[in-house]
Symmetry: C2
DNA sequence: AGCTTACGTAAGTGTCAACTTAAGGATTCT
DNA sequence: AGAATCCTTAAGTTGACACTTACGTAAGCT
């Protein structure tokens, strides 16, 4: 999971993900979209592959890459869980704060009376 | 956005985020949850702050940190957009693949006829 | 077999990130 | 003012990361 998060923290890798998301593409095809060297792209592809975010298929001298739905879904669920777990906590905290303010204001009234 | 993604790619920072999510906590309080030095935590706090994921409040000699809902929400929306944009693409790709298979199988039948 | 094509891997470099210890504010207490 | 507390910033180290060029490998072509 760590690997997946690190993987998508890199802009070029996110761009690669978008490229292979709806179509299988060869390494060369992918590399052509960027102005860095091909080995650089090759290395990004390895990172994505090791994070289980893409899938590699070899055909002749070519290597085709495409999105790996299971890995992507796992990452999405992790993030969603992170948010869910916490946004509800944030909400509780906000409500608590509201109550605190309400009490404080009631105290003001008592003191001023 | 980049900064926020990099920020949450670090396990300790995610843990810090969870700590300050539903309660404001002092730097020392936060640091007590980890077995790295306090400066290390201080630096993580700075990263989170610069990514607009937490908020700092000074009171006397203490510094209190809490979640920064706007920044977190922005990050959440970015990720959701990323998924939405792409999961629909994945879905289209899957359907296309289905049609391809269907055509192939129809072709088989024609060839075999 | 030899040449070409399409890639990856190796090795080296500059930069950034996470950590450490040491030193420097800022605020409060006496 | 001086001492103590709480925390950050500074400086230095180590390892990771994104990139480069050079080399290696596997499949197809002649």
């Amino acid at each position: 999971m760590e690997a997946a998060l690190k993987a998508i923290a890199e802009p070029r890798r996110r761009e690669i993900l978008r490229l292979v998301w709806d179509a299988e593409r060869s390494a060369g095809d992918i590399a052509a979209h960027f102005d860095v060297s091909r080995p650089a792209i090759s290395q990004h592809l390895r990172v994505l592959k090791e994070a289980d975010l893409i899938f590699e298929r070899r055909e002749g001298t070519r290597r085709y890459y495409r999105a790996h739905p299971e890995g992507l879904e796992e990452l999405r669920e992790f993030l969603e869980g992170f948010w869910e777990e916490n946004l509800s906590a944030l909400k509780r905290a906000a409500e608590k704060e509201e109550r605190r303010k309400a009490r404080a204001s009631a105290g003001d009234r008592r003191r001023h009376a």
